[in-house]
């Protein structure tokens, strides 16, 4: 259980985290979403006591991190896979962490096996690939067999197999009743793993809900239609009050009608349909819509202005 109350962190003139209040509950994966620079890492640093909040408070299992009897046995965190001394072997890196919390050496071997780094355990981590570094960071987080796990962008640099592995690992950890708090800027990743979402933008809380609720609340229902009579259907749908746009593959996306309504509409107008499917309103879309105003570094695409002016963007 992680509880943040009015958590605020200011660096000079920048308000990195602004009045965040949220709970991260055990037994599920809580996704922590936000665009780059939204304050996800800062929030995690505040939870871990690495940074001191300007105001507000955050507790893990009811205490500040430095009040926990056995910190590693309660909280395991992967903040930055590069936060290791490259001259130290993977084994010794984990050993020196284990020793602070009175964990046995055998536990080091266990987690090395678990993350699949056993063969390179005696090699200096300097030579590790990004993926291996990420695994070492996950090993360190799991070392104390903690009830709370925090991962900051854990799939960064992992190959598809590695991503799947991390995903399954997180699910298994949550299924065991642990608190799993994972940050990402990749909505697609969260859609596949998270049960609950905490969304922030520019340091502020934007949303806090389950994944399904989040999608339902933040994205319009849409229907994907394939038809040889595109203009006729577009006109009919528009007449019925829907918004119609092209998708990239020449199909139509109808917003504001259910698949049944679109089918009926086509039947009434005698329009042949080749495909009629509810478009999966993705978390990605919902997220983009929600955070559009709170992206810190907004990049303009060349030509965006003209296209908007010409009304070609739906």
């Amino acid at each position: 259980m992680i509880e943040a109350r009015g958590l605020t962190k200011r660096y000079g003139n920048t308000l990195a985290v602004d009045q965040l209040s949220f709970d991260v509950e055990p037994g599920k994966i809580t996704g922590f979403l936000g665009p780059n620079g939204a304050g996800k890492t800062t929030t995690m640093r505040l939870i871990l006591g690495l940074d001191r909040p300007t105001s507000g408070d955050v507790r893990v299992n009811g205490k500040h991190l430095n009040q926990l009897a056995w910190p590693m046995r309660e909280v395991g965190a992967l903040l930055d896979a590069k936060a290791v001394h490259g001259g130290r072997s993977a084994y010794n890196h984990l050993l020196c962490l284990a020793q602070t919390n009175g964990l046995h050496r055998s536990r080091v071997d266990e987690v090395l096996d678990l993350v699949g780094l056993h063969e390179v355990a005696r090699k200096r981590s300097k030579g590790f690939s990004l993926g291996m570094g990420q695994r070492l960071g996950i090993a360190a987080a799991l070392l104390g067999d903690p009830s709370i796990l925090m991962f900051d962008e854990p799939v960064n640099g992992l190959d598809p197999e590695g991503i799947l592995w991390v995903r399954n690992l997180m699910k298994a950890l949550a299924a065991e009743g642990r608190t799993v708090f994972v940050s990402s800027h990749l909505m697609s990743e969260m859609e596949n793993t998270a049960d609950f979402l905490i969304v922030i933008g520019r340091g502020k809380l934007i949303a806090q809900s389950s994944v399904a609720e989040f999608i339902a609340a933040n994205s319009q229902q849409s229907v994907r239609v394939s038809t040889p009579e595109r203009s006729a259907l577009a006109a009919a749908a528009a007449a019925a009050g829907a918004t119609v746009r092209d998708d990239d593959s020449g199909k139509l996306i109808v917003l504001g009608l259910t698949p049944a309504q679109v089918g009926d509409l086509a039947f009434e107008h005698g329009i042949r349909l080749h495909e009629l499917a509810p478009a999966h309103a993705s978390l990605e879309q919902a997220f983009m819509e929600l955070t559009a105003s709170s992206v810190e570094f907004q990049a303009g695409l060349p030509g965006d202005q003209d296209r908007v002016a010409a009304g070609k963007v739906a």
């Binding site: 640093r45 690495l50 001191r52 926990l68």
Partner: protein
């Protein structure tokens, strides 16, 4: 690839109960000990310390015996002749000089050894910042005072032991060389044991001073430069101040406060020591500098965002 099934087997279905007590100093000392001895820089710096201190001391001692040998054969070191009548008196004078400074000569390498121990002292803490390891360290042991104390303790003990070994080895090797002219010191003589032990203490405190500076600056190159500046450059600069006859604030007033002079008073007598505090008082001054650096480092370590 390890499957999730393996994970479930290893971690178990439930979170294990915690043992009584809490993570504290002893475990953190163990951890810091592992940290120190699991990187190569530790071995290299300590080996360099030993070689430089013993080697330079031996070289200096050998130089003295070579000088005595050349005088006794009636030539200067450059090979020019010394008038026959002068040889005996010069030789006696040189022998006396060497004898009175035998311990200091053999420990002369410590002047350079301090430059090496400060590298390790700084790196022990600054490498945590340069590598990012500090974030991992503070997550596993968030009680910062405990980490700082354990780190200082482990490094201090290692620096003291290595310092003493270095000092004694330099002494014995140097005296063995000087013994060929019977101008060597033995540990039983007045102040000799204090000097040799003092050499080890000096190296240890030099290291702790740089550890404190490292904790304040959090930057390897900066901390090493600052330590070398404070220990090595300041005492050289002090030589440019006006000397004893000066009517105003000069070298003789300030020498006793110069870190290197204060610290080295315990193991050397070449400077005559007339302007300095007594050996142990002097060393106390030196320790105060180190303590100030460490307290400054600790306060910042506790307060700053990592």
């Amino acid at each position: 690839m390890t499957s999730v099934a393996a994970h479930e087997r290893l971690v178990g279905g439930a979170v294990a109960p915690h043992p009584p007590g809490r993570a504290g100093f002893v475990g953190t000392v163990r951890s810091e000990f592992t940290k120190l001895w699991s990187v190569r820089s530790t071995y290299w710096t300590l080996l360099a310390l030993l070689i430089v201190c013993v080697g330079i001391g031996a070289l200096f001692c050998w130089g003295q015996t070579a000088r005595l040998a050349s005088i006794s054969s009636g030539t200067t070191l450059r090979g020019g002749p010394i008038p026959a009548g002068a040889v005996h008196s010069i030789l006696i004078q040189r022998e006396d000089q060497t004898r009175s400074m035998a311990t200091t000569i053999s420990l002369f390498g410590l002047l350079f050894g301090q430059l090496i121990i400060v590298v390790l002292g700084s790196l022990v803490i600054t490498s945590e910042y340069s590598t990012g390891m500090i974030r991992t360290s503070l997550t596993s042991m968030p009680r910062r005072g405990t980490i700082f104390a354990a780190k200082a303790f482990v490094f201090g003990v290692v620096a003291l032991v290595t310092g003493l070994v270095t000092s004694f080895l330099a002494f014995f090797v140097g005296q063995a060389i000087l013994s060929s002219w019977h101008v060597n010191d033995t540990l039983g003589q007045t102040d000799v044991l204090r000097s040799v032990i003092g050499g080890g203490l000096f190296l240890c405190v030099c290291g702790l001073l740089s550890f404190g500076i490292g904790a304040m600056l959090r930057h390897s190159a900066g901390a090493i430069s600052a330590s070398i500046g404070l220990l090595f450059v300041v005492f050289i600069l002090s030589n440019f101040l006006p000397g004893p006859p000066s009517g105003w604030f000069g070298q003789t007033d300030i020498d006793k406060w110069i870190p290197f002079f204060a610290g080295s008073r315990l193991w050397e007598n070449a400077l005559g020591g007339v302007h300095l505090f007594s050996p142990w008082t002097s060393f106390g001054v030196f320790c105060a500098y180190a303590a100030a650096a460490m307290i400054g480092g600790l306060v910042l370590f506790l307060r700053r965002d990592a």
